[in-house]
């Protein structure tokens, strides 16, 4: 029975990967189309840019006479173009992503039922579940903001992670060791994985923001699809709002982890390698939030911090789990 369910789970995850691949291609096609269209519609975009820079000017003027207010909340200045466009390639890409995600989630569920516990107790399962959460956050966020232009980043990321997970991290279903038999496994690990979804999106937005601000600064960038994406300050606001959600969850992960560590290991904090890196990531994102409130640091510098933060998350998940000695030795490898 267990073996049947495990194989269902694997079939589902391989199918999801195949469909993610097509989704990734369609998202890439969409970026190419954006580039092509933006040069066709150069006149239109010029108007758009003029409007944007006019708004920028008024913002600057207001800022010089006032405080934060005017700087923080500049509404969708550009991006109107992106909203108008909902072409076929993008819609197909999104549909494929949804189908792949449903398969992906069913793989997670099959795995959980097969194991008779939550499907996040070793590296393979962490990878499987965390990527499902990352794609899930990406899909849910669309109801709030149109961030479909991050599709190639997210599907590409999920595809790579699942590829490494199934080929290098795979382990069979084994029972939980006594240290993991706790309700905190459900809460602590789930919230940690969910927060990576928000950090991933924020990092993607910050990368686009950096490219966009180079373009806005007049530096030659051949990526014409940037014309169709929101302006740098808009991207920054979006990245910030996603990051603070992730940061709150990460704070919760830290506190919940400390409570669990007290139960399981007899102390709430002991500078175990994983604890250290969770702390480092928390500090980087705390720095990011402060950077956004510091003159001279808003903009590209804080964007770099968001990217470094996500890099540290990935490092914590891979290198620390696999190569660092510590109490969090649950990779199963």
């Amino acid at each position: 029975m267990t073996e049947t369910l495990v194989s269902y789970s694997l079939i589902a995850v391989y199918s999801a990967m195949a469909i993610y691949t097509f989704a990734f291609i369609m998202f890439a096609v969409d970026l190419a189309r954006r580039s092509a269209e933006s040069s066709d519609a150069s006149a239109a975009s010029a108007t758009g840019l003029a409007a944007a820079s006019a708004q920028q000017a008024s913002v600057m003027q207001a800022a010089s006479s006032g405080g934060t207010a005017t700087l923080t909340a500049s509404p969708a200045s550009t991006g109107d173009a992106a909203i108008v466009h909902s072409p076929k390639s993008l819609r197909i890409a999104m549909a494929l992503t949804v189908i792949a995600w449903v398969l992906h989630v069913s793989a997670v569920i099959f795995r959980g039922v097969a194991a008779g516990r939550v499907p996040w107790a070793n590296m393979f399962e962490f990878t499987l579940t965390a990527t499902a959460l990352i794609v899930g956050v990406f899909l849910l966020v669309q109801f709030w903001q149109d961030l479909r232009f991050l599709g190639s980043f997210i599907t590409g990321f999920a595809l790579l992670a699942l590829g490494v997970g199934t080929s290098s991290f795979y382990v069979d279903v084994v029972p939980l060791p006594p240290a993991l038999q706790s309700a905190w496994l459900v809460i602590h690990v789930f919230v940690a994985s969910l927060s990576t979804g928000f950090f991933a999106l924020a990092a993607g937005l910050s990368v686009v923001q950096l490219m966009q601000s180079r373009r806005e600064a007049g530096k030659a960038l051949k990526l014409r699809f940037l014309d169709t994406l929101p302006a740098a300050d808009r991207l920054e606001t979006l990245a910030y709002r996603l990051t603070v959600v992730g940061f709150v969850m990460w704070t919760f992960t830290l506190i919940a982890g400390a409570v669990w560590a007290e139960r399981a290991w007899g102390r709430y904090w002991g500078w175990d390698t994983k604890e250290v890196w969770t702390f480092i990531i928390w500090t980087i994102y705390a720095g990011y939030i402060h950077a956004r409130a510091t003159r001279g640091w808003r903009g590209s510098r804080s964007a770099w911090l968001a990217i470094v933060g996500f890099a540290a998350v990935i490092f914590n998940f891979t290198v620390v789990n696999l190569f660092f000695k510590g109490l969090h030795a649950y990779s199963g490898l």
């Binding site: 029972p175 910030y240 940061f247 510091t294 001279g296």
Partner: protein
């Protein structure tokens, strides 16, 4: 619009949100005046003091220290730490003595209590306190102050919008005020306008968050000093008492005194592990550990309890954790006259997942020379293709104990402490084992074998289990948890409660039509501000329409 340095300031700052108590490089601080070339007067001692204080409490310094703290935490994850991995440190020192000397100089084996790491976080916290204290005072003032005057030209503010109504000015403003109040704004009338502010909780949350951080640091620093941790190995059928002498190792906090130990005894009745036997991928994996104990607190009846991983036992203000287990075979040594000279359990250190373990037995008295034995215990013995023994399953299915026997001086009498879990063979001669004439002794439970040279005999009497218990007393735990919860609550409110000001002003023209102006100002990140103004304007005109019609 009022200028940044406006003098109207019942709220202590200008209408535009410039917050004079913020560090000068904070986004919310008043924009610095363009620098002009002024010859600065020479700074006195106090002047320099003020200058450094301002530098230390600036946003840039706080940010720098935060990022520095993140970087400074890295080495401690790369190099084993004395607190979390003492054996790793010993191994590192043996393997890389030269590097270890350098690392020792920089206190890297103690990164998180090192001088440099401590100075970074202490500076950070001083900077934090210096920043938060003036803001707290300012916030208290702001909580008591009235919302600031309505700016003269609302059209220059965010979300500016207008509506017209047939209601007169007084009705318009009254209903606006009522509506603002129902949305939890504080309101104040200024002429034909109402000024409102909400979201004080945002700043409260922010201050609570930072204060709670300080609280965590202080409670860890002080409260932790009154605690202690002790480790003790207990064999089935034996007991230990909570007293300094009975611990195998003991780490008192800085302010610990002996009378902090509440006397009680804990006897290990049995230890029951459960190992996986069905899942072919995980045969022998531990799935449950239960230590059945009888505890006796002075003056009370003995009580039966259990200790499990993830389920510590609370006893007299301490917690007992089950952190390890293994086997403690009882070895009985008799002399040539069949007199028992040694019979007691020896806890053996496991070296693999199937509880293959190393046993060190030291028999100092009863024979002409001291006897030392180096043993390997295989709970379920199997033979490798090389012919060597190995344990293939952690439970006691077919246990085998092998013993190499040494004779000579155990080095116990020179007054220096020795490690009970290692055998120094420098002054010992092997009399049974690989490098002697007699073969290694090989015993199963109940076996009794002769020692070489007619010394006597050795018997494997039984194989009870042992557990290693950690006893912790940490009075900082509860306060740290409370501060952590405050911190979390403060974080959420400081990030997600919008703080904004809103104004509604009304004017009537000659024809009796009232024009209502709406505008708002964000204080801190407030992405929904414009939508909030538009929404308010709609609701308000809706309400006015109803009033005019009725």
């Amino acid at each position: 619009m009022a200028s940044t340095h406006s003098s109207d300031s019942e709220a202590g700052d200008s209408v535009t949100g410039g917050d004079a108590t913020r560090p000068s490089d904070h986004m919310d601080a008043p924009t610095p005046a363009p620098e002009s070339k002024i010859t600065q007067p020479k700074l006195g001692l106090a002047g320099y003091g003020r200058f450094f204080w301002r530098q230390l409490t600036s946003m840039r310094t706080a940010l720098f220290l935060l990022l520095l703290l993140a970087v400074a935490a890295i080495p401690g994850s790369l190099v084993p730490q004395i607190t979390s991995d003492p054996n790793g440190v010993i191994a590192y020192r043996n393997n890389y003595p030269d590097t270890a000397a350098i690392l020792d100089f920089f206190q890297v084996f103690n990164t998180y209590s090192s001088v440099w790491f401590s100075s970074i976080y202490l500076l950070l916290f001083i900077s934090l306190i210096g920043c938060v204290l003036p803001r707290t005072k300012h916030h208290f003032d702001a909580l008591r102050a009235r919302p600031p005057k309505t700016p003269a030209r609302l059209s220059r503010l965010q979300g500016f919008t207008t509506r017209t109504t047939e209601a007169d000015v007084t009705t318009t403003i009254d209903s606006a005020r009522g509506l603002l109040r129902s949305q939890r704004y504080r309101t104040e009338l200024y002429g034909d306008s109402v000024s409102a502010e909400r979201g004080y909780l945002r700043e409260t949350g922010n201050l609570v968050f930072h204060a709670a951080l300080v609280g965590v640091l202080v409670t860890v620093g002080i409260g932790g000093g009154f605690g202690y941790t002790g480790q003790r190995v207990v064999v089935e059928g034996y007991a230990f008492s909570n007293s300094l002498a009975s611990y195998d190792s003991f780490n008192p906090g800085r302010f610990f005194s002996d009378d902090a130990l509440d006397p009680y005894t804990v006897a290990l009745d049995s230890f029951e592990p459960v190992y996986e036997i069905e899942n072919q991928q995980a045969i022998g994996q531990a799935i449950d550990f239960t230590a059945n104990v009888t505890t006796t607190v002075r003056g009370d009846e003995p009580q039966q309890s259990q200790i499990k991983v993830n389920e510590p036992l609370s006893l007299s203000g301490t917690n007992l954790y089950l952190l390890g287990n293994g086997y403690a075979p009882v070895i009985t040594v008799r002399d040539a006259d069949d007199k028992v000279i040694w019979s007691q359990p020896t806890p053996c250190l496991p070296f693999d997942a199937n509880l293959g373990s190393t046993c060190i037995i030291k028999v100092p008295d009863g024979l002409d020379q001291q006897i030392g034995m180096l043993g390997f215990l295989y709970p379920t013995a199997g033979t490798l293709s090389s012919g060597a023994l190995a344990s293939v399953y952690p439970d006691l299915v077919s246990p085998v104990l092998t013993l190499e026997v040494y004779e000579g001086d155990l080095g116990l009498d020179n007054g220096q402490g020795t490690n009970a879990y290692s055998l120094n063979t420098d002054s010992l001669e092997q009399i049974a084992g690989r490098s002697s004439d007699a073969e290694t002794l090989r015993l199963t439970p109940g076996d009794r074998l002769e020692l070489p040279n007619g010394l006597g005999s050795v018997e494997l009497t039984s194989i009870p289990r042992f557990v290693s218990l950690d006893v912790h007393h940490d009075p900082s735990q509860l306060p740290v948890l409370l501060f952590a919860m405050l911190l979390f609550g403060g974080l959420i409110t400081s990030l997600f409660v919008p703080r904004r000001r809103m104004w509604v002003a009304a004017t009537t023209d000659a024809a009796g039509v009232t024009t209502v102006e709406y505008a708002a100002l964000a204080r801190g990140d407030d992405p929904n501000l414009e939508a909030a103004v538009a929404d308010f304007a709609d609701k308000h005109s809706q309400q006015l329409r109803v009033r005019v019609e009725s």
